[in-house]
């Protein structure tokens, strides 16, 4: 017998072992999320995917789907929470979208747009962070790092390299490079690595190709974030099924 739960009143079928977020995406329903990626273990750090179940908040990227459960995602309160989360991410870094090469292809920016953010609300913190251009083919601009650890997981689990880690705690935490000098140029990172491809922001970028896609043809110019994320998950599922 197939199992299902209710997302904002709509019935969502799910397979055993799926999380609320996975089941929702499989059924073409979007729940905002940022640090979760289909290919990677959940990290559960951004809290953007928060939903309410029986009056309590849960991260839908880690919460297993359960039969008959009522899950609430689309409320003004949760929207406000998600907005605050993203606003906080913005003020904790140094983001200048108009001159950033990731603009239009950036998940953080697209998330902000999709949540209808108008401003940063919180005072800008202007942290001082180290830039690293030592790698011949990849730029590391920590000003744009949101410490989502996507690169950490991707490098370890997909690239089999372990190039990245997060050092320090709380507001002082920062992206560290596992190399003798701490410089990206001395690590074994390649421009083709998944760590680079999956970084959601302009923090890790392939050098010398910035701005080559014209405005109007960038990822989120052409397709809304929600659709991109749903399609991405479904493609991943199809691939998984194909490879057995």
């Amino acid at each position: 017998m197939s199992k299902s739960f209710f997302l904002d009143g709509k019935e969502i079928p799910f397979k055993e072992g799926q999380t609320v977020l996975q089941a929702a995406l499989a059924a073409c329903h979007h729940i905002p999320h940022l640090c979760w990626r289909p290919q990677l273990e959940p990290h559960s750090s951004c809290r953007l995917c928060t939903v309410m179940i029986s009056g309590r908040p849960f991260s839908s990227c880690t919460q297993p789907a359960m039969d008959g459960q009522h899950v609430i995602s689309d409320t003004p309160e949760l929207l406000a929470l998600r907005r605050s989360v993203v606003q906080m991410i913005f003020v904790e870094g140094n983001h200048y979208c108009p001159s950033c090469e990731e603009s239009g292809n950036c998940r953080l920016q697209a998330t902000a747009y999709s949540l209808g953010l108008q401003d940063n609300h919180f005072p800008q913190q202007f942290p001082k962070r180290e830039r690293d251009s030592s790698h011949p083919d990849v730029n590391l601009d920590r000003d744009r790092c949101i410490r989502c650890e996507t690169c950490v997981r991707a490098s370890r689990d997909l690239d089999g390299k372990n190039v990245f880690g997060i050092h320090g705690r709380g507001i002082k935490s920062h992206l560290a490079v596992n190399s003798p000098t701490g410089k990206l140029g001395d690590s074994d990172l390649d421009a083709q690595d998944q760590a680079v491809a999956l970084c959601p922001t302009g923090c890790l970028t392939v050098k010398r190709v910035g701005f080559s896609v014209p405005i109007g043809e960038r990822i989120y110019d052409k397709e809304p974030l929600e659709q991109v994320q749903i399609r991405e998950f479904q493609d991943f599922q199809a691939q998984e099924a194909h490879h057995g």
């Binding site: 200048y96 108009p98 001159s99 251009s133 030592s134 910035g210 701005f211 080559s212 405005i215």
Partner: protein, 498 residues
């Protein structure tokens, strides 16, 4: 016209004594242009200082950034002509990727973008910012001296002005994806091909745009010639001129060699490869100004200053490459009687000739099969240093970058158009103040006249983006000892305070 002896900015017999007071930038009213007039012992204006705080810090800000970010980042430098900075920086980074010569398609499309920018900038300046003054006179009631006043008195003209500007903005939008802060030029070329649909869209109105631009030239000419005594002498002075020209000596806005001519029209240097600009142009720092004072090295800092922008370009060009603009240039140059035209107010007329050129040049490009090419990028032997120079609406614009082996910018040097005109604007202000200051009291009339003089140069200062008669201006008058004699402040709403 004042004699050549007045070439120097400071005409006081003992300028040292005028510099005794350090004028704190802190006394500046936010968003206001600030002018200090210094008098000599006989209470005549001997020096004028236009204080400009724009353009600071950018050269530092861009350090460490990857070079391909420069053409995008620099657009934040100036909200008034972002496209010019975009393209000048792009020309510099072209050199970094070994692509000083682009494909014909890429160069022509960049030119089209640049002409679109020139068209919209010149239309905005003439119709919106300057024409009320030119049409109603410098002393006209402030209420009439704005675009609404123009619409009331010359509805037809004002509507054309708005549409000309809009057309220029549409050229920018079609190519760069957005009307402001779009992105088109990338190292070695452009990021987007031009389609037949784009062409058809822009071709619809281009004949009209050319015709209206021609009319605008006639209006500007008429305004000048009908008030010849005033326009030829107001804030007028002799100077050298700097601009780019083609290898044949013709007018060009996007590329070419540097040409400098003196106040008689004699060549100082010509066809200089702009990547060597540092051998020809140096910048002087003065204690009272954040903005530097560039000068031609061979003439020295006293007499080597020069003017750039529409007046300089028309004076320097042997001919215009398009037929209507060439006809207009000849009529203009007749006023110089074999020498350059030196009048500050002639900038407006020259500006409209350039707008006509830009319109004709866009028209020609829309007929050029090269613009539909798909070969958009070239790359060659990379270099660590790149210089890009072009003629922005306000004058010659220099961008110069040095990068390290890992693509990060280690040094940037920019000379923006308004900086090139720094001494000239100060000189114009001094000339006007010397003529119109009556006694020891600053009047609204004087402020308006100063504004007209500054405005003629179309400086890219935030205070200059207000419609005429509304330039927020703070003027102070100091005696030979440096003591404040009078101060008058005009806000953007026209209100005066002391």
């Amino acid at each position: 016209m004042t004699p050549t002896a007045n070439l120097s900015l400071e005409t006081a017999r003992n300028p040292e004594s005028l510099r005794r007071t350090v004028i704190e930038p802190i006394t500046r009213v936010e968003g206001h242009g600030k002018v200090t007039l210094l008098m000599d012992e006989e209470n005549r204006v001997k020096q004028a200082r236009l204080h400009i705080v724009e353009f600071r810090g950018f050269e530092k800000f861009i350090q460490g950034r990857p070079y391909w970010e420069a053409p995008v980042m620099v657009q934040r430098l100036c909200g008034i002509c972002p496209v010019s900075h975009h393209l000048a920086a792009a020309k510099a980074v072209d050199m970094l990727v070994g692509a000083r010569r682009l494909t014909p398609t890429a160069e022509k499309l960049r030119r089209m973008l640049h002409y679109g920018q020139t068209l919209q900038s010149h239309a905005l300046h003439f119709f919106h910012l300057a024409s009320p003054d030119l049409l109603f006179g410098f002393d006209a009631d402030v209420a009439r001296r704005n675009i609404i006043g123009v619409i009331g008195a010359h509805p037809d003209l004002a509507v054309k002005g708005v549409k000309l500007r809009k057309y220029g903005q549409e050229v920018i939008r079609v190519l760069a994806g957005k009307r402001v802060h779009g992105i088109f030029a990338i190292p070695g070329g452009v990021n987007k091909a031009f389609t037949k649909a784009d062409r058809d869209y822009l071709a619809q109105d281009i004949a009209q745009v050319v015709a209206w631009s021609l009319e605008a030239v006639d209006v500007a000419r008429k305004l000048y010639e009908d008030n010849l005594d005033l326009h030829a002498s107001f804030g007028a002075f002799r100077s050298n001129y700097l601009s780019l020209t083609t290898p044949e000596g013709a007018f060009d806005l996007y590329d070419g060699g540097l040409r400098a001519r003196d106040d008689k029209g004699a060549t100082i240097f010509d066809h200089v490869d702009y990547t060597h600009y540092l051998r020809y142009i140096h910048e002087e720092v003065k204690s009272w100004s954040y903005m530097k004072f560039p000068f031609i090295v061979s003439l020295g800092n006293d007499t080597g200053w020069y003017r750039v922008g529409p007046l300089a370009r028309i004076n320097n060009a042997d001919r215009m490459p398009t037929p209507l603009a060439e006809g207009a240039r000849k009529a203009f140059m007749a006023h110089g009687k074999g020498e350059p035209v030196h009048a500050t107010m002639a900038y407006h007329w020259a500006r409209m000739i350039e707008m006509l050129y830009a319109a004709e040049a866009i028209q020609a490009l829309l007929e050029d099969p090269d613009v539909f090419g798909t070969d958009l990028l070239v790359k060659g032997e990379p270099a660590l240093e790149g210089v890009g120079v072009l003629e922005a609406p306000r004058g010659t614009l220099f961008h110069h970058y040095r990068i390290d082996e890992r693509d990060a910018i280690v040094k940037a040097n920019l000379i923006v158009s308004t900086t090139n005109n720094n001494t000239a604007m100060n000189t114009a202000v001094r000339e006007v103040a010397a003529k119109y200051l009556d006694g020891k009291t600053l009047t609204e009339g004087l402020l308006n006249h100063l504004e007209v003089a500054i405005r003629a140069y179309d400086p890219c200062l935030s205070c200059a983006t207000h419609a005429l008669g509304r330039m927020p201006l703070q003027v102070e008058l100091r005696d030979a000892e440096g003591a404040l004699v009078d101060q008058l402040i005009k806000d953007a709403d026209g209100a005066l305070r002391r």
